[in-house]
Amino acid sequence: MVFCQLLGFAALLLPTCMRAESLEDAAHELAMKVCLAPRKQAVRVQWQEPPGARGYLSASRRRVFQDQISACGLEAAENSDAPILTVTIQVTPSEALLIANAIDAASHTQIYVVEVPRASLTVARETASTPLLRRELVWQQEKPIQSALEWRDPATEERFLFLLSDGLLDRFRLENGAWKWVDSTEFLSAGARSRAPEASLLYSRAKARVELALPGKICALDLNARLSYTCTASEFGDKTRELSTTCEESPRYLATGKGDYTQPDRIALARASGTAAAVADDSYAGSMDVPGPVLDISVTEDSKTASAVVKNLSTGNYEVYRITTVCDH
């Protein structure tokens, strides 16, 4: 009893406008607000998730809320006579609102609101993949990524990730399962700033080196010292998307959808070329949905994996996926 009174006193000291940093915090703070109700009685909590915000009110967040209101004397009741306390989440352009509302004896609606920055919400929309292609998220960030490439140094066996983003070429090294930033260098595109991606990373098997393709030139990366590059004038033809598999001798080619940047995409394995019979066959035996448009694909030095840059349409983040093939026995 004393504990509840102390808790209620602490709640009175809370600022009027409550803004949490995460939904877990918000669930707790909302419960604290509800605890300020003058009459402590059992309530029946109803959870509502509107169609656009499904999945946010997870079981753990509900438990945080219910544990807290129980602790301050608002017993969560199952019986139908108890007044209903409805808890919902609503999303506005910049915020997510955790709202609890109840109708009091005078038929007035009492509401409690805690605000959370909407950007703190993340949605993982998993999509199924077919057995022939597998994806693994290796990097994600808010700033646009133009191109990405994973590379294993044949001399040291160390793995690196190169990212082109926001006018910078960044190098990361894999250490203890995490990418650690090594260094970076600016890359400048020719002419006026373009709204479209115009630089791309690739591995040239002919020259056995990592290259940066810019409009009208090809640049060789110097990876021995601090990251730098040397460019020569050359028209960039095409990036190979040939992916070798252990399942069959003939290589496959990575293909993506024809949609624009507003649509989810998919990555598929296409047969290279050949006879008409082969084309009539299932040319896209393996395909895999990705959560947004594929902006760039770079095949790694061993031709067994590729790095795909995807803009996730659910979160707005730019993501790098490692694309590999597996044999469907």
Binding site: T16, C17, M18, R19, Q90, T92, P93, S94, A96, L97, I99, N101, T109, I111, Y112, V113, E115, R118, A119, L121, E142, G191, A192, R193, S194, R195, A196, P197, E198, S200, P215, G237, D238, R241, Y253, L254, A255, T256, G257, K258, G259, D260, Y261, T262, A268, A270, A272, S273, T275, A276, V279, A280, S283, Y284, S287, P293, V294, L295, T315, G316
Partner: protein
């Protein structure tokens, strides 16, 4: 032998390409945009003003102004579709614990379309007339301060929306901006003589030509030097004053790429398999009692409220292109609108009607409803209100808005004052507090003293709105979305759900190649990477 090989290759390649078309896949990672072309846009409004200082908050006209201003001006920050504030002309910002003192850093290297560099002083001069009197702006080096006498935790929401554009007033009163397009006048012969050779956005309203075939054209050319990257299209040919039906026909006939669709044409456009996009509801239609009537008879206000059949208005009159409104702010903006309910209750209305004195307004004397909002939809809504009210024996006399030439000011009526007004309110701010304050100020809705009028806290906002709605001085009717029709070549149409068009990101798909052109090698691909087009003559290096 050589011939046979070639033919086999061509056949194989053709089949490969054909298969990829059938499967909706392309081999060369295809989602890259292309540069070039002119986007042809048709809008209903016959006149626009690109001077944010002149815009009337909440007016339907301000919605059109804002859409076009986004082409030539930019704001300090932008709110993306994921709820994240993105740097625009400001690259950094911070505030004190009280949310009263905000500091912004101005992006370096930004130039106005006349070639002059943007600095913090420009931002101060542009923003000070737009901000409320409680806020003072001052420059300091490459940054500027906004000092407010009241907390403004929602300042970013405000600055990312509405009229908070950064501009510079040049000699002669013209406005120049840093945006992705430059108002370049009009194609030869398409604009009234006064509009030709305009290179910046003038302060006075730009009006269309009064011709029988439609409005005037405004031409916006791509800004080659904008910091955010040249737009994909070379220019936007905007036609003003196009009647809704004609705009839809132009879209069907391929004479336009993007047209505004009126609500009554949305279903028809969809039936015609046109691409249609609709925003979240951005316009509120409602009834507002004037001050004298508001204090007169609460029974009349409640009686009228419960006669209104908002469902029929939204679903029949507007063919489901609107939704019944129970609150002043829409759900997508406030987050709490679902807590308001209004139900039609004719029995209750009749009971209330019986209590109104015979000689009072709504008794023997009809209630005068003046339709303040422009357009046929508002008239239809006014008539529907009268029909609904009559079912409870409340007689409503509808007084329509005087018809005026496009762009001209409507004179104030000189006849008897109206008791209730039908208004339209266009939401322009992403701050629910700011929007509610603007609406209250515009309609002189006083806030109960016990409610904190400056708090952006949603509980306080809800309380303010609840008090006004419970008082029934304002009766929300419907919420209407904006719709546009899109031509098949328009790609990367990525508008904000609150109505911003983002035309700088749109690109145009070239016409489909003829079948013979499809016989190309399937794997070797020409790069579709767009090259920035050479700078237009006269542009800055």
């Amino acid at each position: 032998m050589r011939f046979i090989e070639s033919r086999l290759f061509a056949t194989t390649s053709f089949l490969s390409v054909a298969t990829s078309f059938l499967l909706g896949l392309s081999l060369p990672a295809a989602t890259r945009p292309r540069y070039g072309g002119t986007l042809r846009v048709e809008v209903h409004t016959a006149a626009v003003s690109l001077d944010p200082r002149e815009w009337q908050m909440g007016s339907l006209q301000s919605a059109a102004n804002e859409k076009l201003a986004e082409l030539v001006f930019e704001r300090l920050v932008a709110l993306d579709n994921y709820g994240r504030f993105q740097p625009a002309l400001a690259t950094e910002w911070s505030h004190d614990a009280a949310n009263k003192r905000w500091r912004f850093v101005v992006r370096a290297g930004v130039r106005f379309s006349d070639g002059s560099a943007l600095n913090a002083e420009d931002v101060v001069v542009a923003l000070q007339p737009l901000l409320p009197p409680t806020a003072q702006v001052s420059a300091s080096g490459n940054s500027f301060l906004i000092q407010s006498s009241v907390p403004v935790p929602d300042l970013l929401e405000q600055l990312a929306s509405g009229r908070y554009f950064v501009y510079r007033v040049t000699g002669g009163g013209a406005l120049t901006g840093t945006g992705p397009f430059v108002l370049a006048g009009a194609p030869a012969g398409a604009l009234p003589s006064g509009e030709k050779n305009s290179t910046s956005s003038r302060a006075e309203p730009l009006s269309g030509a009064a011709s029988g075939t439609g409005g005037a054209h405004l031409f916006f050319r791509a800004n080659e030097d904008t910091w955010s990257g040249r737009p994909f299209v070379d220019g936007i040919d905007l036609t003003l004053g196009v009647p809704p039906l004609r705009a839809m026909f132009d879209l069907q006939l391929g004479k336009a790429d993007l047209v505004e669709l009126s609500p009554d044409l949305v279903a028809r456009a969809r039936q015609a398999t046109l691409r249609v996009w609709s925003s979240d509801p951005v316009t509120l239609y409602g009834l507002r009692f004037d001050d004298a009537q508001a204090s007169a008879d609460a029974r009349l206000r409640e009686a009228l409220s419960v006669t209104l059949d908002r469902g029929t208005m939204a679903n029949v009159l507007l063919q489901k292109q609107a939704e019944p409104a129970a609150a002043l702010l829409p759900q997508w903006l406030s987050g709490y609108a679902f807590l308001f309910n209004v139900d039609t209750n004719l029995e209750r209305a009749k009971e209330l009607r019986r209590g109104i004195p015979p000689n009072a307004v709504g008794g023997s004397e009809p209630l005068r409803l003046r339709v303040d909002a422009p357009g046929d939809l508002a008239k239809l809504l006014g008539e529907r209100v009268a029909v609904n009210a009559r079912q409870a024996s409340i007689f409503v006399q509808v007084v329509n808005r005087p018809v005026a030439n496009a762009g001209a000011r409507v004179p104030a009526p000189v006849d008897r004052p109206s008791s209730v007004h039908l208004f339209a309110w266009h939401y322009s701010s992403l701050s629910p507090r700011s929007e509610l304050e603007s609406l209250f100020a515009a309609y002189n809705l006083t806030v109960p003293s016990e409610v904190n009028a400056t708090s952006p806290d949603h509980e306080q906002l809800y309380a303010r709105e609840r008090r006004i709605l419970d008082d029934r001085r304002v009766l929300p009717l419907i919420l209407q979305a904006e719709s546009v029709g899109l031509g098949p070549s328009v790609r990367d149409w990525m508008p904000a759900r609150w109505g911003e068009w983002h035309l700088a990101d749109v690109w145009l798909e070239p016409p489909e190649p003829v079948a013979a052109d499809a016989v190309v090698p399937a794997i070797t691909t020409a790069p579709s990477s767009p090259e920035p087009r050479p700078a237009a003559s006269g542009a800055n290096p």
